[in-house]
């Protein structure tokens, strides 16, 4: 998940660690440390974690006071963020809402509204002079329909407020309910306060906690029958919690990803995915390995790091097989939660194993049917893929055709009825050649008129057909007149017969065999 480090650079961040006792008994220089130094220290811990474990993540650095500034746009170059942290300058007052607007804006521009993000707000636990305005804008967020106030974020986001403050500080006590309100408004998030008085140690512990809660990477096993490989998913999969029509779904991804069978890529037909993840094989030690690119000139025997590349991994085999056959693997990642594994190339030569998670549930891709009803094709009496692989059981056909495939009658718009009658007349003028089409259209309109309680139309249509009959040119086929007469008389007698009966063409000596 992309992460925004939202750093408070107001003047109050330049306070010493403990204002109450400016000369702490510790002989070290911690007492002289400023809160912003501790904040930078903490951020570095987080960034070091990214460097170590989340190489494919993105992070950005935004600082705010009464204005916000994007110091470092989203990047995977975490070292550059660390450098930028050292150059932070202090500004004026704390305006948290300004900072949140900045984060929201930056994320929307970069990732749109569908990518889950994390916002780590590092502040000094003092909403300070901005407190009043924050309260005001929070209140107004309700009255004005949240047009300005950025919470809740217009994208899935976790907001963690990290307070570089002594837990007992009075201003933290007054600010905390405010922070709490911010988290509630966003719906997801947490507040972190050091456990014990402010020091490098407690801040380190606090950031370790932050990492543990929010930035731990996924580690699991990919199984396919008796074959398996340890893998990680990037980005780490998020638990699913959404309201469906008749239930609230809450599921998390298991540590075991189980391949259940395979499908043709064309058959799954671009199913909608809740999220997508790269599947990266882990080494025996549980590390993610990124080998240096092979230099075609040099021999493969490089350093010791290359050993990992030479231990076979099932992941690579699966990827190769899926790519070769142009197929996907249906897999289960949790209770009633499925997804597909496939080979994916980022429009370059590099291809990789990708996991697309469906929305949890068994009936989530209508054209695949209930997922639990999918079984081994080879065990069916007749293999639906055919002997030479030319047929496919997918997509599942719907039982009830939709209106656009039904030629249904719609007269609610102008012209609908007109064109239906014109169609009858067009066929009428080509009688007896178009006899079948004529009666088909006639019955279609007749049935609709009867359903709509529009008896008057039947009489009107009869009149039009009668006039058509009289207007027939002398060259017309005799059957034309006979059929027209039969039709308009039948329309007029609708009420005397079972109305469900269609008008059938009249059998004449001219109409040949039928």
């Amino acid at each position: 998940m992309p992460t925004v480090i939202l750093l408070d650079v107001s003047l109050s961040m330049s306070r010493g660690v403990d204002i109450a006792s400016p000369c702490p008994e510790d002989e070290n220089v911690e007492g002289l440390m400023l809160r912003k130094d501790l904040a930078v220290h903490g951020c570095n811990i987080l960034l070091d974690h990214f460097i170590q474990h989340c190489k494919l993540e993105f992070a950005s650095l935004i600082v705010f006071s009464s204005v916000y500034k994007v110091l470092m746009p989203f990047t995977r170059d975490f070292e550059s963020i660390k450098t930028a942290l050292n150059l932070v300058e202090e500004c004026d007052k704390t305006s948290i809402d300004v900072g949140l607007v900045g984060a929201a804006q930056h994320i929307l521009e970069e990732w749109g509204n569908g990518t889950p993000c994390q916002i780590v707000l590092v502040t000094d636990g003092n909403a300070g002079t901005g407190q009043h305005s924050l309260q005001k804008s929070m209140m107004s967020s309700h009255s004005r329909g949240a047009s300005q106030f950025p919470l809740p974020f217009p994208f899935p986001a976790k907001l963690t407020i990290v307070c570089i403050a002594n837990p007992t500080e009075p201003c933290l006590q007054t600010s905390k309910p405010l922070y709490q309100r911010l988290i509630e408004l966003n719906g997801e998030g947490d507040i972190l306060v050091p456990d014990g008085s402010l020091s490098k140690k407690t801040v380190t512990e606090m950031f370790d906690q932050l990492i543990k809660n929010n930035f731990s990477s996924y580690s699991g096993t990919l199984h396919c029958g008796n074959l398996s490989a340890p893998v990680t998913l990037s980005p780490p999969p998020q638990p699913y919690c959404r309201h469906h029509d008749f239930e609230v779904m809450r599921v998390s991804v298991d540590s075991a990803i189980q391949v259940l069978g395979f499908l043709n890529t064309g058959d799954v037909s671009s199913p909608p995915a809740f999220s997508r993840h790269l599947v990266l094989p882990l080494s025996a030690k549980g590390d993610m390995v990124m080998l240096p690119k092979v230099d075609p000139g040099s021999d493969d025997e490089g350093g010791g790091g290359n050993d990992e590349g030479k231990i076979p991994s099932f992941c690579v085999l699966l990827h190769g097989g899926l790519k070769r056959e142009n197929m996907v693997a249906l897999c289960q990642v949790g209770e009633n939660w499925h997804g597909i594994l496939y080979s994916w190339a980022d429009n370059k030569k590099k291809s990789n194993l990708m996991l697309s998670l469906f929305v949890p549930g068994l009936d989530v891709i209508p054209w695949m049917g209930k997922l639990s009803y999918l079984g081994p094709a080879s065990q069916l009496p007749v293999n639906p893929y055919g002997p030479s692989d030319t047929s496919s059981p997918f997509p599942l056909k719907v039982h009830e055709k939709k209106s656009y495939a039904l030629n249904c009658v719609v007269w609610v718009r102008q012209g609908g009825l007109q064109s239906d009658i014109q169609k009858i007349l067009r066929h009428a003028r080509k009688l007896p050649d178009k006899i079948q089409s004529f009666y088909k259209e006639l019955n279609r309109v007749r049935r609709a008129a009867l359903s709509y309680g529009f008896g008057e139309l039947l009489e009107g249509l009869a009149n039009v057909l009668e006039r058509e009959c009289t207007l027939l040119p002398s060259t017309a086929h005799p059957d034309a007149a006979i059929q027209l007469q039969h039709a308009y008389e039948a329309l007029r007698n609708s009420d005397k017969k079972d109305i469900r009966q269609n008008i059938a063409p009249l059998k004449t000596t001219f109409s040949g065999n039928d």
């Binding site: 008749f246 990124m290 076979p312 070769r324 009803y373 081994p376 249904c408 009149n463």
Partner: protein, 698 residues
Amino acid sequence: MTFPTSHKTVFVMDHSLTTSSGVKLEMDSFSKSRSSSGSNSQPLVQPMNLIPLLPVTKSLWTCAVEAITEYCRIVWDIFPGTRLIRFIAVDKTTHKLSSWNLEDQSLTNLMNAFMMLGPAKNVGVGKLDLLKGLRAAIEALTEPSAIQHEKRTSLTENATKVLNKGRIILVTKVDCEEEVKTLKEKFHDTLLHLNKIAASTDNLMAINHCDLVLLNLWPEGPGCPIPRRSWPDVSTIMSCELTNIQGGTALAPKLCNLVLKHYDLASTTVTGIPMKEEQNASSSANYDVELFHPAAAHAAILKGIPAETAHLKTYREGTDYETVTLKWCTPRSNASIELQHCSSAYRITSVDVNSRPSSCLTNFLLNGRWVMLEMPRKSGSKVISHMLACHGGDIYIHTMYTSRSILEDPPSISEGCGGRVTDYRIPDFGELIKANRLAPYPDSALESDDNTTPLEKSREQLSRHTKYWPITLSTTSLFTLGSQIEPLTTLMLKETLTEAEVIECKQVILCLMSMEARGDPLPSPMAGQRGKGMKREDQYRVVWTELEQYLQLHLHSADHEKVLECFMECHNKVETPEYKGDDKVDIDQALKELDDYNYMTEREKADFNLSSGTKHTPAELPIPDSKRRRTAPPPLAPMGRSSGVSLLTLWENKVASEQSRRCLEFQGRLKAEDNVTKLYVSLQKDKDKDEGSRKKTT
């Protein structure tokens, strides 16, 4: 939203609306059009002596039914099976036209029901009791739908939390506001009363919330005197709204507005669809087609910065709802066989379903073509934001990812673990993939004897197919033989074998035997390091060892065992070690037991065979068939990363460790201090301990 109000809707229709709607259809014009468009050979034979035809007028009832069927068409196209609608018509009596059953939720059935009901009837003044109809509608809402019933009786913790919400739409003509007020109040009283009754029964559900919509149908002409109004909170369980709807041209857009609101739908206009002209096939013009779909399909582009997307939204002529205009992109032919990344897919329906541009687009899609839709950005650039595609007869709008992907520039699979290995058995795995393809099971096949779903069956099959599966060529000799071991390796995977198949398998073994006897080289050059520099008999030995392991792992039936027996006989191995599936024997333990067995005396061996007869049964002993079938191989080779170990290596390790054990240093000498070793140290220790504890107790 959970338990949406739109799940259940009841239309209560006033069947006494015989009043003219004022909507006329000129019948005379149809004949005139003939003479004007007639061929030149009969110029203007306009007969002057014809009596002009009377125009046809729709009644309010006709307008109402037309409008309601259109409403249902849109709903059922987009939400088949999940949004239910039923009908009640009221004249002197109440007619229930349909139920919550899924069969009733179709246009054909609806049209038939209205056909049987017939046109509007005149009832005497005061004979029409709309309240009776509303009462029937509330009763209908208290009946659970199939899915509500299923959830309610599901015996899960959520069963009690199933909420029953619904909407009742009364279609009538209201003449004064007083009427609305009475209807609303009486409705509320009835609702409370019927809720009480429902709560006291088992099979009915009390209504948690009901939305009453009064659809005031008014003839074409001057506007309706009663203004539109809504009462969002009549009480905690009821909201109410009065909407005017006028016959004629304004009817359709008003109706669309209502459907959009009730079902949270949105409109997309596909613009710039190239179509051949009807009259002149050589030229083509661009057309627009409007579609409806759940509003969520727009979330990905509209949620966020409003100013960025304001330019997408417009109002179509005569409508009072917004539509998002997206541009048609010339479709790529191979789009459907690639995986497009999309975040959602929703069913659509066309708004003017029978118009030529609409049916042209829908037919194009129904024929299997996919259409990309392009969204112009404010900056002027364009991005593909949606895709229209048909799956099995339903047309869907897919939402594509439009923003930067967090998965950009991913490492290649060759850069990770195992990426440098070049001898994966990828073609073989391709065959495994094809053999384990999934297909939907028909309902008839679902009732299996053992309650396993087809998907679980597939998982079992996969597990059977991977019992012994070296993932690289260098870890196997058996699978480098290619066609030589076919069809044995395919047949042994099956759950059961026929007599003929057993013979085929045996032939493979015998053929290999005779090759060895003849001294033929193995058919395929032994790939990988294992075969290099090996003597021919060693190569065969490796293959035999591996084949034995393979056969041991595939004892799915008595017939499978026959193949193994054949193998054993060929190699003069009398005993068939057989493992009970329920005894988890791991290889270490098995080897240890084997070791012990070798050191035993004859007597001990006999005893051992008796006591652990279930584990190691000599092949000659007759075993009941049922017992045999249940036997399964030990959970041996999870052929993952650690699977480089073959039986040969295991054996070699064992021999090595045995040898090292033989030349082990004498323990006494190892522990000796200054060449003196204390004997019976443990005895001394025990004694110390005893004394210590005795001291404590005393």
